[in-house]
């Protein structure tokens, strides 16, 4: 701990203590635990870009990574919240299958309009989540057991609904959500000989996002200064704004050069922004961290612990239904084996992304980054012609290494106290 100004003798806290209006720049501490995950992603990207001779970052491949991994990322958002609260959900793969099958029955067999079917499917997902949340929160059965049972139960429900065969085809709108791209509204622009053309609308959208990101950060910094809170020095702040902006723009340009922005990317962006806000700023989000950080202290602070856990599982059910619809739309088929082992990828994404095994720690952006690391490893290795067994080997090793690092760094700080 840094030496706090030692008050001489006993200062009985009368009146304001030493004025503390100094807006001294925060000491630049390189927090390896927080930045480690982004560095890891950068390393993985650089590694596979080099190994594949640049193919990894090609327009079409980048687009593929997003579309192929989007449903895992959607699940990872819900999963990291549950892990922060100190629980786990093993059933999401089966719930993806069950909700996909449910959607197929309504759209394919009953010919219901797709918006009605989508809403009904989300409600179905919420009901599944409520079922599991009840047993975990109000019946005090460990989530591991409840969702292990759920994994079997909802796989059985899927097979009940579908029999032993797939069901399709889905309406165009659903297929577009899973697989399609935003149409170009403003035509292409040339980017020069080497790059070829790119969709103008996508690029304008990308610029808008980058400007928005920068504005939010500038405003937050201004507010912090107004409240005399410590802020990063200007150069570091500029770096923190510029680097993500450059990355986003690169990403958008590459996608614009292929077939525009995938719809799932738009959906994913909305979810990430929304859930990041909830975890950082909503009372509910704070309570998730409080429950996971110290359950007893949260209870004695008046947090309705059971209700928080219950609604987290409901939320997971809804996000599983979202993933179920995307996945079925992408394959244009709801199959009885859909979603197999999705839970493992989603859990791995959350832990690689810095969630703590004991709960109380984790971030939505971290889980997305963790998911991207897995996605890049998956995609990069398949570009290199690696066999599934090798991919599994690497992914298993990365997961173990990430959690081992978390436990090790925690033990180190505990020892340093």
């Amino acid at each position: 701990m840094t030496a706090a100004p030692t008050s001489t003798g006993v200062q009985a806290g009368k009146g304001p203590a030493a004025p503390h209006g100094d807006t001294a720049p925060r000491r630049v501490n390189f927090d390896i635990k927080q930045s480690g995950i982004y560095i890891a992603l950068a390393l993985v990207v650089v590694l596979f870009t080099a190994l594949t001779g640049g193919d990894l970052l090609g327009p079409q491949n980048l687009s593929n990574i997003i579309v192929q991994f989007s449903y895992i990322l959607v699940l990872a958002i819900g999963m990291v919240l549950i892990i922060i609260a100190g629980h786990i959900d093993l059933s999401v793969g089966s719930v993806v299958a069950a909700t996909g099958a449910f959607a197929a029955v309504m759209m394919v067999d009953w010919d219901l309009p797709w918006p009605v079917a989508v809403i009904a499917t989300l409600v179905f997902g919420a009901m599944i989540g409520a079922w599991q949340g009840y047993w975990v929160a109000y019946f005090n059965i460990p989530a591991f057991i409840v969702t292990l049972a759920g994994m079997l139960l909802f796989r059985a429900v899927t097979m009940w609904i579908l029999g032993n065969e797939g069901k399709g085809p889905f309406p165009d709108e659903i297929r577009t959500l899973g697989n399609g791209f935003i149409p170009g509204f403003l035509g292409n622009i040339g980017l020069g000989e080497a790059l070829g053309g790119a969709d103008l609308f996508s690029i304008i959208l990308g610029v808008a996002v980058v400007v928005g990101m920068a504005l939010v950060q500038v405003r937050a910094r201004a507010a912090r200064i107004r409240y005399s809170q410590a802020v990063d020095p200007m150069w570091l702040f500029a770096l923190k704004v510029a680097v993500p902006a450059i990355l986003v723009m690169f990403f958008v340009v590459q996608l614009a050069r292929f077939r525009n922005l995938p719809w799932v990317l738009v959906l994913l962006a909305v979810l990430v922004v929304g859930y990041t806000l909830v975890t950082n700023r909503a009372v509910f989000g704070r309570q998730i961290y409080a429950v996971g950080g110290n359950l007893q202290a949260a209870t004695l602070s008046g947090v309705k612990v059971k209700s928080v856990v219950f609604w987290l599982f409901v939320n997971m059910g809804v996000l599983s239904a979202v993933a179920g619809i995307i996945f079925a739309g992408r394959l244009n088929l709801a199959g009885p084996t859909a979603g197999n082992s999705f839970e493992l990828d989603a859990i791995a994404a959350a832990f690689i992304g810095g969630a703590a095994v004991q709960g109380g720690v984790g971030k939505v952006v971290g889980a997305i980054t963790g998911g991207m690391i897995m996605a890049v490893i998956n995609n990069g290795m398949s570009l290199l012609g690696a066999e599934p067994k090798e991919v599994m080997l690497v992914k298993g090793g990365v997961l173990l290494a990430a959690v081992a690092f978390d436990v090790w760094s925690k033990r180190r700080t505990a020892g340093a106290k």
């Binding site: 840094t2 006993v10 806290g13 809170q229 704070r286 961290y289 950080g293 110290n294 209870t299």
Partner: protein, 511 residues
């Protein structure tokens, strides 16, 4: 019969920042029952942990001599090997295993790694006969009451060829009948030549059963005496009399109207639903007044406080809470907070703080609604409020974004107090508010408590330190075995009179 079986001399044990034991001497004679008495925190349990090897040789200073030989125990197995067995207040039985399995746990009756069940159960039956427990050896422990479990523990000790049996508060959880049986059994064991050391708060039992008594206070031996030369008053005057080592801020109370009345409050134990931990308690708290609650370990102080605070402890709670003249229902912590109650726990690390979060998020944890609009927290306002507490409570940290787990005990306690002050309570229950914090920080906490009282809040302070209660409270209740045994204005209270009241209930129980 002056054969000394155990001699501990010059024992000093230091924890970071605290001297728990200072040059303690203890002589125990073979075949006697020796009682150790002292207030909470006097060092009794620490001394027994040193003796049994829980704190291994090398982590303390001083010498232990058992049966004339020096001992350097590196763990509890070593001391058990020599015939020293300790039975803790919290019984350590595996509740799903049978009596016989528990007795021989870690000492299995086996041949080449395979357990001989016939021998195990026969030997257990024999031991049960010795302790007078008429249960079958194959009965699971979970089916036994606490009294019988205590006997199983003693049988387990006998199976280890015990020479010196240490019992920490053996009758604290027992009813009169079971207590009487246990004490008879101990007398029987003494006649068989087994030496006993008993830690007890029940002075009548101490007088009734022990041959000699040793008093500990503030980690020091005060005296050892033969029981026939003693009276309960003499023991009490030895136990109390802690130095008024801390200064207490001057305070003239401005006592106002009644804020909370607790009527007929009864709470039963969650693990033994037929045993009342708090028994028909009546208390009154008034605005601007600091009320103390004194009681020895196990008297039910925390149980009383937590059950009042949204029924966060205990089962089958009955009684009435009347706030500002109106009966209120506080069935959950949330309801209690909404009714203007706050409870700062005695164990801030386990129950009070989220140690991995920063100061500001801990301070806001119980009052997020106040800092939020439509469910969204105003982060800047949260910072401003927390930083205000940092200044007014003198929390020593680089910023309110520092992680609470890295603060000192005193600063952590200030964070806990800030958290509850932010909820703007009318009634503040402070459970051991100065436990484990240094003298300077204690003074600051006392000043804060006075300030809160002056703002018109009703304050209940639970403390094991009698000088602290005498130093800051306007009125003090004493609690013993779940019952209020006294209510004394500060001017009339002394450490001796409080201790007499704190051990009163125990005296009424027939030995």
């Amino acid at each position: 019969m002056t054969d000394t079986i155990l001699r501990m001399s010059g024992i000093t044990k230091t924890f970071p920042g605290v001297k728990a034991l200072q040059d303690v001497n203890l002589d125990v004679r073979r075949g006697e029952i020796h009682s150790i008495c002292g207030e909470n925190g006097a060092g009794k349990s620490t001394l027994m942990k040193v003796l049994s090897g829980v704190y291994p040789h090398g982590t303390y200073e001083g010498d232990i001599e058992f049966e004339g030989e020096p001992c350097k125990f590196s763990g509890i197995r070593d001391s058990e090997h020599r015939g020293i067995v300790i039975i803790h207040q919290e019984l350590a039985l595996a509740s799903n295993l049978s009596i016989a399995e528990n007795i021989f746990l870690g000492n299995e009756q086996a041949k080449r790694g395979w357990i001989d069940w016939n021998r195990t159960n026969a030997a257990a039956d024999e031991l049960l006969r010795r302790v007078g427990l008429s249960e079958r050896a194959v009965t699971p422990v979970i089916e036994l009451g606490v009294g019988k479990q205590q006997l199983v523990e003693i049988a387990k000790a006998l199976s280890k060829q015990v020479k010196l049996l240490i019992l920490d508060e053996p009758t604290a959880a027992l009813n009169d009948e079971d207590s009487a049986h246990l004490l008879d059994l101990l007398r029987g064991l003494r006649d068989e030549g087994i030496t006993c050391v008993i830690i007890s708060h029940k002075l009548n039992e101490v007088m009734g059963i022990s041959d000699r008594v040793t008093i500990l206070r503030d980690g020091k031996t005060i005296w050892t005496a033969n029981t026939p030369e003693l009276t309960e008053e003499k023991i009490i005057s030895g136990m109390v009399g802690r130095d008024m080592e801390h200064r207490y801020p001057d305070h003239t109370p401005k006592i106002g109207a009644e804020a909370l009345r607790i009527e007929d409050w009864t709470v039963f134990s969650p693990s033994q639903p037929d045993r009342p931990l708090v028994n028909r308690v009546n208390m009154t708290l008034r605005r601007g007044e600091i009320v103390g609650l004194a009681g020895l370990m196990g008297a039910g102080r925390t149980e009383l406080a937590m059950s009042v605070f949204g029924r966060s402890y205990g089962v089958n709670i009955s009684g009435r809470l009347v706030k500002d003249g109106q009966e209120i229902q506080a069935r959950t912590v949330r309801e209690a907070i909404d009714h203007g109650m706050a409870y700062a726990t005695e164990d801030r690390k386990r129950y009070g703080l989220n140690l991995i979060e920063d100061i500001k998020r801990n301070i806001s944890a119980a009052a997020l609604d106040k800092l939020a609009k439509a469910g969204w927290v105003d982060g800047n306002e949260e910072f401003r409020v927390a930083d205000g507490f940092r200044a007014s409570m003198n929390i020593k940290a680089p910023s309110v974004e520092a992680v609470v787990g890295k603060l000192s005990g005193g600063n952590q306690q200030k964070v806990v107090l800030s958290k509850w002050i932010l909820t703007d309570p009318d009634i503040l229950i402070l459970d051991e508010p100065t436990r484990g914090i240094d003298v300077g920080a204690k003074y600051e906490i006392y000043t804060i408590i006075n300030r809160l009282a002056d703002e018109g809040k009703a304050i209940l302070v639970i403390s094991s330190e009698l000088p602290e209660l005498l130093g800051i409270c306007d009125r003090i209740y004493t609690l013993s075995a779940g019952r209020i045994t006294g209510e004394v204005p500060r001017a009339e209270a002394t450490q001796e009179s409080l201790m007499t009241l704190m051990t009163k209930e125990a005296q009424e129980v027939a030995p």
